[in-house]
Amino acid sequence: MEKGLLKLHYIIPANDLTCAGEASSNVKKKLIQLGIDPALIKKTSISMYEAEINAVIHANGGEANVEIDNEKIKICISDHGPGIPDVELAMQEGYSTASDEVREMGFGAGMGLPNIKRYADDLKIETEVGRGTALTITVYI
């Protein structure tokens, strides 16, 4: 890693549930190549995957910026979607505003954000109704 820092950038396509997860898959491969502890890779992969799914299903896609250094993996998933009116409510297991189409894909049961919180070492949610949401997920190495 040049200067101990690796930066990755991905576009998360809008409304394409068949491709949702490709960015997370790429990051997982990169972490394996870097020889990161498999338990940390799993935490990172699940957190990022749930966030990626959220961006696809709620916000017409977005982008992912990933930074990996010797101490941490930091993932920022940002979108220009509707924002989250009540973050506390959205963090409750079982609360969901997802469509039937999303539920048919095995998601939308109100476990996304709680799962991210469960696996991330640190989760920062910045959201504004009508403007979008940015999740910053950190996993310490």
């Binding site: 997860g21 095995g106 709680p114």
Partner: protein, 115 residues
């Protein structure tokens, strides 16, 4: 239990993957992928009635190496192509979820797949 034993117990058809000597110690039955990610431990066999690419994506993220589609469900080519690309072994059985899980448990697949 090896995958080849699972195929026999469930009278399943192998749709993707080749390594039927893969050892499986526990299983999880779920149609909800977020629950799989919330509660499953490593190396389970995933049984599901959900047929979508996200089953394979979830398996990839969770290091799940083998999936059984229950109730005779047969995923499309795109799902199987993704499974082959990600190295996930895929089977299908006509058994419904409850029966498939019961048969496997009865045959000795008793590891606790979730926490």
């Amino acid at each position: 239990m090896k995958v080849k034993d699972i195929i026999k117990v469930l009278d399943a058809e192998l749709l993707a993957g080749e390594n039927t000597d893969l050892e499986i110690i526990s299983a999880c039955g779920s149609d909800l992928m977020s629950d799989v990610m919330a509660f499953v431990k490593d190396n389970v066999l995933l049984l599901t009635g959900l047929v979508s690419p996200q089953v394979i994506r979830t398996a990839e993220m969770m290091d799940i190496k083998a999936v059984v589609f229950v109730r005779g469900k047969n995923p499309g080519r795109a799902v199987l192509d993704l499974a082959n690309e990600k190295g996930v072994l895929v089977m299908t059985t006509h058994d419904p979820m409850f029966i498939a899980c019961g048969k496997l448990y009865n045959a000795g697949l008793t590891g606790k797949g979730v926490w």
